[in-house]
């Protein structure tokens, strides 16, 4: 069976990991209250979606 000849050095291990990145979530401005919110979701601060109160605001 094929086996690695050498242990992967810290340097090479870490070089590979440079591609592990977090992606920032897309955030849009709520047209109702100007708070930041996630797209395609009701606004958590004012409870509006598509110009209509969907749910009463929690906070």
């Amino acid at each position: 069976m094929a086996l690695p000849k050498r242990k992967k050095s810290k340097s090479r291990r870490d070089k590979g990991r440079t591609h592990w990145k977090l992606t920032a979530p897309t955030v849009v401005k709520c047209p109702q209250c100007d708070e930041p919110k996630l797209p395609h979701r009701a606004c958590p601060s004012c409870g509006f979606y598509k110009g209509r109160a969907v749910i009463s605001a929690k906070a």
Partner: protein
């Protein structure tokens, strides 16, 4: 053949899933809108829209088909007499799903699923309160 007939399994056995969706469908008929996870809402849509189509046909047969899911004469009656007539002019798409965000506890994506432009039978109930008790015999 079940080619391309995909159904969300929701991590449950067939019987468990059936019971869950029946339960959610009942809640929809009682409350008009419910909050649940995205996946459940999407699957529930299928069940509830079928029920409303049964209600719009309004035959004895469809009444029994609806009863197979709801298991409650009262709810079948609300569906047939109150909910279905409201959608007489709408060809499908009786439900609306609005995504709400993520649940605090387990970070599950939560949605609101509602009957589109639904009006509760509140005024109708006060005007004719006897109707609910009279109807069940006819459907047996």
């Amino acid at each position: 053949m079940r080619h391309r007939k995909k159904v969300a399994k929701l991590g449950r056995t067939a019987s468990h899933r059936k019971a869950l969706l029946a339960n959610l469908a009942k809640s929809m008929i009682i409350h008009g809108k419910i909050k649940t996870t995205d996946a459940k809402a999407k699957e529930l849509r299928r069940v509830v829209e079928r029920l409303i189509t049964f209600g719009k046909k309004g035959t004895v047969h469809t009444n029994r088909q609806a009863f197979r899911v709801l298991q409650d004469r009262k709810l079948v009656n609300t569906l047939f007499e109150h909910i279905a007539p409201q959608y007489a002019d709408r060809n499908g798409g009786y439900t609306r799903i609005v995504k709400l965000g993520f649940r605090d506890n387990d970070c599950a994506p939560v949605s609101l699923i509602e009957l589109v432009d639904y009006k509760f039978p509140e005024e109708a109930k006060k005007a004719k309160p006897k109707k609910k008790t009279e109807e069940p015999e006819q459907n047996n």
